[in-house]
């Protein structure tokens, strides 16, 4: 069994470890969980639950933050 899976992060294909949680994904991308909001298959996952949600093959994950705007 392959030990990695294919997911989509911010619209781009990414390979992550099988069984990785959303928190582990953020860590692998060197992102501070306090500085981003995570949307997992169109559902917002709050910070305390990031370590409880496991990423599955084909999942779509969006990582957003605030940028300059009017």
């Amino acid at each position: 069994m392959n030990d990695t899976i294919d997911v989509t992060v911010n619209g781009e294909p990414r390979v992550v470890a099988r069984g990785a949680t959303l928190l582990a994904l953020l860590e692998s991308l060197a992102l501070d969980p306090r500085a981003v909001v995570v949307e997992h298959n169109r559902t917002i996952v709050r910070r305390p639950r990031l370590a409880a949600v496991t990423v599955a093959p084909g999942d779509a994950i969006e990582l957003v933050h605030f940028v300059g705007g009017g």
């Binding site: 992060v9 911010n10 619209g11 781009e12 991308l29 992102l31 500085a35 981003v36 909001v37 949307e39 169109r42 917002i44 709050r46 969006e62 990582l63 957003v64 933050h65 605030f66 940028v67 300059g68 705007g69 009017g70």
Partner: protein, 265 residues
């Protein structure tokens, strides 16, 4: 306020149960650099500052989030749904913004046309109803149409934000009558959003009696954004004070200011 206007007693600027001193709200987009942005916002005296929700740049080639350059404790951050063309998208962005942010306020934009960035008022109403039901305080960017403004108020908006002219155009207040009518007929605050280009535009807008102005490009695209921010702060204050002072009636004939009596033979 300076001593010259101490006789003018203004009501607090309150939106969604929160009161603010400054009636000028500013955006954070399009500045040439973050230091200029931070200094311009400071010079504007604004307390409410808008931000947008976007994907994190995973390659880190671009700048970091705006919060690295803006003290979130000092300013009241108002997230927007800029760039959304459907009610569904706008609701999605609003939910993400609430999660990222510090409050339940959202500046709701549902754009209907790419060239003019004019609002899709039907989408706006649909999104407003959904967001109000979810507990959001909705500040809706709309056009200067009275009936739409009334519907938005009915739908539960915390504030209605008619445009002065299209976003980023700097054309100034094109329809003072429309904006004035909206202000006269609505109970919720009316904040003019978009189109103000220079200080006289801001002053004229505030003279219509609206509760505040939100601007971005007028500062960011000025040759000297910090100086323009100061000019806008003064203009908003001047326009508000002039409105409260009550202007003289316009007459199409001259009326002498000096006495007619006591003239020499």
């Amino acid at each position: 306020m300076t001593t010259a206007v101490e006789t003018i007693r203004d009501v607090p600027f309150t939106i969604g149960g929160r009161s603010f001193h400054s009636r000028l709200m500013v955006g954070t987009g399009k500045y040439r650099d973050n230091d200029t942005m931070a200094r311009a916002i400071e010079a504007s005296g604004a307390e409410i500052v808008t931000v947008a929700v976007r994907r994190v740049d995973l390659d880190r080639t671009k700048e970091e989030g705006v919060l690295y350059h803006l003290d979130a404790k000092r300013y009241f951050l108002l997230a927007n749904t800029a760039g959304c063309y459907t009610a569904e998208d706008a609701v999605r962005y609003a939910r993400l913004a609430r999660e990222a942010g510090f409050n339940e306020f959202i500046k709701l934009e549902v754009i209907g046309d790419q060239e003019t960035l004019l609002p899709d008022v039907q989408g706006l109403l649909v999104a407003t109803r959904t967001l109000v039901a979810e507990g959001f305080k909705v500040l809706a960017y709309t056009n200067e149409d009275l009936v739409t403004a009334l519907r938005l108020e009915d739908a539960g908006c915390a504030a209605v934000m008619p445009l002065a002219s299209p976003i980023g155009s700097g054309l100034g207040l094109l329809n003072p009558f429309g904006v004035r009518t909206i202000k006269r007929r609505l109970t919720v605050p009316v904040v003019v959003d978009a189109g103000v280009g220079t200080a006289s535009d801001a002053c004229l807008t505030m003279e219509q009696g609206v509760d505040g102005i939100l601007m971005n490009t007028a500062l960011a695209a000025a040759r000297d954004p910090v100086a323009m921010a100061r000019a806008m702060r003064l203009a908003v204050e001047a326009g508000r004070t002039a409105y409260l002072a009550g202007r003289m009636p316009k007459r199409e004939v001259a009326v002498p200011s000096s006495p007619l009596e006591g003239m020499l033979d």
